[in-house]
Every structure is written in C-alpha cells, then in structure tokens.
Subunit: 253 residues, 2 copies
Amino acid sequence: MNPAAVTQELLTAAELETRLRAVGEERYHHRHPFHQLMHEGSLGRGQLQAWALNRYYYQSIIPIKDAIILSRSDDSAFRRAWRRRIVDHDGDGTRPGGIEKWITLAQATGLDRERVMSTREILPAVRYAVDAYLHLVSRRSFLEAVASSLTEMFSRDLISLRVDRLRQHYPWLSDGLTYFDARLTQAPEDAKFALAWVTRRAGTRAEQELAIAALRAKCDILWAQLDSLYFSYVAPGWPPLGAFVPQLETMTL
Amino acid sequence: MNPAAVTQELLTAAELETRLRAVGEERYHHRHPFHQLMHEGSLGRGQLQAWALNRYYYQSIIPIKDAIILSRSDDSAFRRAWRRRIVDHDGDGTRPGGIEKWITLAQATGLDRERVMSTREILPAVRYAVDAYLHLVSRRSFLEAVASSLTEMFSRDLISLRVDRLRQHYPWLSDGLTYFDARLTQAPEDAKFALAWVTRRAGTRAEQELAIAALRAKCDILWAQLDSLYFSYVAPGWPPLGAFVPQLETMTL
C-alpha cells in the first residue's frame, strides 16, 4: 500500500475497478510462462500430471477458505451469498463439486485418485503458497479476506483460452475438462458479488488500498505455485526429494 | 511418518540419531545447487545480493520462532536454555546479534540497510516458506516444534565450507562474514541440547517418527527458499513482479 494514499481522496467505484483490473493485467497468472507452455501445447503428459497433482491441493482448500470467510461475517445475507461457493466446490451429494471434478481431470492425465488426494507428492512450495492463502483469509481484515477472492474477475478469459487449447493440444484430456465448464459461469457471478461488496465496504482510501493490496497478494499466491512447478518440472527440472516425479517417457509428448 | 511405525519398537538413542543424520545427509540444503554455485564462485554479486536480501527474512524471524517455542514450554530449565537463542539473534544491546550481523553481510554485498530490513523485495515463495516455519512451531506438537530446530546438527560443516569459499571467491565480502563466525559455535551447542531433549522426550516410536518428520519438514523449508532463489536469479531467471532485481552489470562477476 502506498503510504501517501491514506491522505488521498476516495476512488470512485469505476476508479477502484480500474485499479483492481490493472493488478490482474499485470500480475494474474495468465501471464505465467508455465501457462503459456501449456496453452501452446509444449507441456508433456508428465508435466500436466505435475500441474494437476499440485493444483489439487489448491482446489482442496477452497471450501475451507470460504468457510473461514463465512465464519467471519455477521451478516446473514452475505453468508447466504457466500455459501454457494462451498457448495460449488464440495458438491451437493448428488452432483459432483469442483474438487471431485478436479480429481477427474487429474485422473484424465493418468494419475490415481488416491495418489492425488493424499497430497503426499506435492511440492512444499505449493503447499506453503496455498497455506498462505488460508492465513490471509484467517488473519487479515475481513475486507482483505473478501478482496483476495477478486482474482475471479480475471479467471473467465483464462479458462476459456485454456479449455480451447487443452482440447486442441491434448485431446486425450477432453473428458477431464468439466471442472472448467462450471467455472465459466460460477467465477464471474462470484466476482461480481465480491466486487460490489468490496466497493461498498471500502469506505476510505486506505481501505481501498488494502483491498487492492490483498488482490495483489492473492496474485502472488497463484504465481508462486507456477514458479515452483516450472522450476521442478520444466527448467532446470529439479523436483525436491519426495515430490512427484513424472515417468521419463511422459515428460514430453 | 511411516504408518507402520507406531507398532514398531522404540529406537535406541543411537538409532534415532542415525535416522536424524540420514535426513540431513539426504535433504539438508548443503546439497542445493544454489549453494553449490555459491561455493564454486559461480554466483555474481547481484545473485549474492538476492540471497542476502531474501535470507534476511528468515534470519529476522528466528527470535520470533524461538519466543514461540519458549512460550510453549512449562519447564523453566528448558526455557532458560532456549532463551540464549533469542539473545544470540537479537543481541544483548551492546554486542550485535545474528540479525544485525546478517544486515552487515547484506551491506557488504552492496545493499542498503533499510532496503533489506523492509523485506519489500523478497520473493513471495521465500516469505511463504519462512512463514511455514512459524506455523510449524506454533501449531504442531511441542516435540515437533523443538525437533524442527535439529537442522543445526548439520550447519557447522556447511558454514565452515561456506566461509572458506566466500573468502576465496568473493574477497570483497570478507568483512561481512562475522555472522558465520558466531554460528560455528552457537549452532552445535544448540543442536546438542535439542537432540538430547528430543531423545529424552520422544517416549514412543510414534513420537520418534514425528520428530524425524519435523526435521524433514524443516529441511523442506530451507530447500524451498533456495529453489525460489535459483528460479528467480539463476535459471530461468524470472523474479516475480515487485521482487528484487539485480542491476544487470552485477548479475555475474
């Protein structure tokens, strides 16, 4: 946060949205080289396995993260709106939720369900980044906890591109992509609610800057996961001891 | 932890020490390629700056970590023994402690004190790994919190080698190396106390396995910091936005 900002004028809603979108343009993980390799079809099956296996840990904590946010709200209208996120990821007992769909995607890459769900082989750095998200929503102000979800403002474009490119370059993955179908509508709706709430709730310029900084912190959390995947599975290609090791023949297609 | 271990026999003190030393042999960060580059003199000044600046964050939380451990003990003899660690790092008001000496090292690489102490430009992944250490000592059992300090069993050899090699390859750094001089005696004494305490306190095989796993977790925390430094400042050389960027002419010697 810019220390001078506390003495500055309140941003209008449009100005705040512009600032938030600039964070995404600059720092959201659509720019990360690991995603760029994926979208141009340069990742091998083993690298996609590493991605699916590691990102499972992120997916698995989403409802926990949302339950923490829920637990910090004293507004039943807010809680009702936010509750849907938990259902989206945990499912409703009849239709599979996002976590189950992510397991389906990991299975489509050729991994066993149990192996993925155990999280035994994820990169320590991915675990730390994901846990940092839980700490953010637990410990920072409620405004910052909610604002950190605003990366969903940027996910629709990335997911649209990803689904197209995965189908094109990795047709054997196609049956595993249902996770993304649902996210194409869920994420923008969730982002719309959260943006409106943050805009209303951030009543001072200092609070607006805190919200912007929280979004930046969340972008860092997503980015750091891909840095670690790139380091371990692309170049130099050094997974730490105990982490997932692709079979050699599946590293490249 | 090996799930079968809970039904296995208690290790003798010697067997436990052998198991702990095996963890260090396999996973301690003396094996990390970033350190290997440093020790062969292949890092440039900018890369040493990145190392000193990032590792400052780790150094800065050591007394916090030790205060958390202190706060979890109900044994005044333990607390007295452990208290020395805090003094070693924070200093006693007359002689500089480890944190101050680390700043001196960072200054010897050419960085400003304020820039280092702000931790503004550290890698997010370094922050997450270091924070994971704080979470470990806060949340896991007290036995695991203490056992995680046992990496000090391995630090003497690494520090001896490092000081020799830094003097040889980077003579302009020599005035900044007093941090390591003190650690050559402090770390082994601290490790001896902690090893004896863990050996006495781990009364079941399951507890012994937890202590071993805690040491492994700590090795992961040290290793992940160097992975991130390597990724951002060696290869491919992509620091995330906002992180420290060496001046081009100082990246290599």
